[in-house]
Structures are given as C-alpha cells and as structure tokens.
C-alpha cells in the first residue's frame, strides 16, 4: 500500500484541491481498501482498484462545484506558475501560456477535468483512468477527445483576442 500512497494522495488532492481533505480521503480509502482486500480480484491491476476507492472517498468530501473548480485551479496554479529567474522572458511567456491553459481547464466540466488530470497529470493509462473514474474505457476516450477539442477552441479564442 505504501508504494501507492503518493499517487493516491495526489489523485485525492486533484479531486479535493485541499491537502488536508486529500489526506483524510486517502487514509479512509486505505482503511477501506485493507478491509476489502479479500474482494480484490487476484491478477487484476491493483493501482486502479485502489485509486477507484481513493477517488470515491475524495468525491465524498464534496463541496460546491464552483469551489471544487477553484480549488483544482489553485492546486495546479500554485505549483506551476513560478518564474524562472535564469530565463525571465521565456519563463514569462511559458507562464502566460500555462495560465491560458489553466483558464481553459477551468472552463471544462468536472468529469472532463478529472479525466485530463488522471491521464496527463498523474500519468495513468486510459484503462487505469477508466477504472479510477468508474467508467468505460471508451467513455474516457470520448471525454478526453471532447476535452482536448474544447481546450483547443478556448485557446484559439484567447489567441485571437490577444
């Protein structure tokens, strides 16, 4: 279990957007997973099974959708928009592009945002993303495809406006 606590905690953090809620959710999920180990299908991949429980616990800590979106963006923004003093111009440009991308992410529906987070931020496979989010692999594919299309459209709009 210990080997999975980082990805589990990060999954919960991206869902709750709050470190202490993520810790609560992960701990509770681990307790539930320990108890449910006898129901775990032998030979099945363990990580997505565990992340399903983690994601479920994290969602149980639900707050308002608007707040969750804000926390998600805050969680990502806090760690990514630091300036690079060695390359101030390039860093500023990169930071601007990331900010645009973050704004566009904020406009997505939560299910699409979570699919993006699992697939690209946490590096889960499509299969793992599907298990974690409790949906079919095809659903993940279509969610990601729609999300990327929306992001491109939004970024194009912002580019045209700029």
């Amino acid at each position: 279990m210990r080997g999975y606590q980082e990805v589990a905690f990060r999954t919960a953090y991206l869902i709750t957007g709050d470190a202490s809620e993520a810790e609560d959710a992960t701990q509770e999920a681990f307790v539930k997973a320990y108890r449910a180990l006898d129901r775990f299908r032998s030979g099945a991949p363990f990580r997505p099974w565990l992340l399903t429980i983690v994601a479920n616990e994290a969602r149980n800590q639900r707050r308002s959708a608007a707040r969750r979106t804000g926390l998600f963006l805050k969680a990502v923004r806090e760690g990514t928009l630091e300036e690079n003093p060695a390359l101030p111009d390039a860093a500023a440009l990169a930071a601007e592009r990331r900010e645009e991308l973050l704004q566009a992410l904020g406009g997505l529906r939560e299910e699409a945002r979570l699919a993006i987070a699992c697939r690209y931020f946490l590096g889960l496979s499509e299969e793992e993303t599907a298990t974690t989010l409790r949906c079919a692999r095809g659903t993940v594919k279509s969610r990601l495809s729609r999300a990327l299309r929306s992001l491109r459209a939004e970024l194009r709009k912002e580019g045209d406006a700029g």
Binding site: F9, Q27, F30, T80, F121, G123, L148, L151
Partner: protein, 268 residues
C-alpha cells in the same frame, strides 16, 4: 497556433509534471494503525463470546496464584513480588478523583517542574491527576458514543492510557500519550481531553477574564485558543483548546505551538 494544437497533450503533461504537490503524508501507516487498533479490540469480543475460554483463564490464574505458590516457596516469593509491584504502580499511577481542570492550579502546574530533577517529577506523590477511572480504549470510544477523536499523526501512535473525565457535568475522556516516558513524567507528553460541548462551557467556566489573554488560533479553520499553563490548568505545559464535531477538545503539551497545531489538525 498550429504548433500549440499539435502539442496540447504534451503541454498538459508538462503542466502536470510541474505541479508541486503537498508532501505525501504517511497515510498507509496511519491507516494500518487504525486497523491494528480495531484488531486489538477484536480478541476481547471473541473472548467474551466464548465462556469456556474465560473459565479456562480463571482456572489457569487459580493454579498460578494459589495452587503453585502453595507448593513452591520460590514461586510464592515471585508471585508476591508481582503483587507488590502492581500495588506500587497503582499507588503511583494517575489518581482517581479530581477532574483535570480542577486538579491543579496554574501556579503549581508541572510546567514549572521542568527545571527540577527527574526524581522529583516522577515521584508518586506528585503524580498528575488525569481525571476519573482508567478505562480501556474501547470503553473510551463507547463513552464518546463511538465518536472518539484521535490525532492521526504517525509520530504519536495510539494513546498509552485513557481515563474517564470526572467532571460532574459532562462525560468525557482523557487520552494520555507518554512517548515511552513514565506516565507521570510531564516531559515529552501529550494529554488530549474530549468533552461534549463548547470550549467556553467546558473549559473556560469562571475564567472569562483570561479569555482575552489567550492567543486566538485556527485549527482546520475552526477557532481555538492557545495559552500557557499560567493561564489555563495543565498537566503538561501549553494548552490548545478548540471545538470539533460537537466535542470541546483540550490538548496539553510541551511541544511548540506549530507542532501542537499540526497534531490538532490531524485529529479526527
């Protein structure tokens, strides 16, 4: 823009790789601790459900305490030593009776004893009074209606001892963490008291004058107070008060304020 469209997936991956996540807490160990705690309770239930085993234990105890010593003088000495030790420990252990809040005034709280030798602070005569009778973790949980709150920081582990509070007004529990020290040694110790109610009605009755002198703090966005033993009665040193899930909590510790707050914020 063409480039950007092509690279959107790699941009998202890059964005993900740049996220500075908060440090991963030791959740696996904490979860394990909770499960171990549950398992410790389980054998007790098992034993109670099997009267035959209980009778076997009684018979074995009879053989050990009465029958064997009667025939063996050497063993008799050993068993009597065991009982003497036990009695001494009971006498030196936390006293039963006075409520935690009522037991010591600010002037003679153990914080002022810290500069004295260990002999003085561990003397049975100076043993702190934690509250009422010593109880098991299971009884503590039952006393709080199943909602016993515990710090979840791995550094603390499980409470070493539990007591019932003896205030006449409300039920509650006192959990003592000794970190391997003797229970009556105030160094490196932490005492957590839980009583249903509000901070004011449980811990600050008749002490309204000191309220403005306490530091206002936030425990997981809940208002609380932090003060020294001079202002609030304490077995240990500093005191942190806050309310959570309808329970007024008092954490007494010698740890610095930040560490005390971190422990308080892990309570659930």
């Amino acid at each position: 823009m063409q480039d950007r469209e092509r690279n959107l997936e790699s941009e998202l991956r890059e964005l993900g790789s740049m996220i500075h996540y908060p440090p991963t807490p030791e959740v696996a160990r904490a979860a394990r601790g909770l499960l171990d705690e549950e398992q410790e309770d389980r054998p007790r239930r098992f034993r109670l459900s099997l009267p035959a085993l209980r009778w076997a234990a009684v018979a074995a105890a009879f053989v050990l305490i009465v029958a064997v010593p009667a025939f063996s003088p050497g063993l008799r000495t050993t068993v009597s030593d065991l009982f003497v030790t036990k009695d001494t420990q009971m006498a030196g252990g936390p006293a039963v009776g006075g409520g935690a809040a009522e037991s010591e005034s600010g002037e003679n709280a153990p914080a002022s004893d810290l500069s004295k030798g260990s002999e003085a602070v561990t003397s049975p005569a100076r043993a702190p009074r934690f509250g009422g009778a010593r109880i098991t973790p299971r009884e503590a949980r039952a006393r709080m209606g199943g909602a016993l709150l515990l710090p979840r920081t791995p550094e603390l582990g499980k409470p070493d001892e539990s007591y019932a509070t003896s205030t006449s007004r409300k039920d509650g529990v006192v959990l003592v963490y000794t970190e391997g020290s003797p229970v009556d040694d105030p160094r490196n110790r932490l005492v957590l008291t839980e009583v249903p109610g509000d901070i004011e009605s449980v811990y600050l009755v008749g002490r309204t004058a000191i309220k403005p002198k306490l530091d206002r703090v936030s425990v997981n966005r809940r208002p609380g107070y932090w003060g020294s033993a001079r202002r609030l009665p304490s077995h240990v040193g500093q005191v942190l008060l806050w309310k959570q899930s309808g329970i007024a909590l008092r954490l007494e510790t010698n740890f610095p304020k930040e560490r005390a707050l971190r422990i308080a914020e892990s309570v659930r």
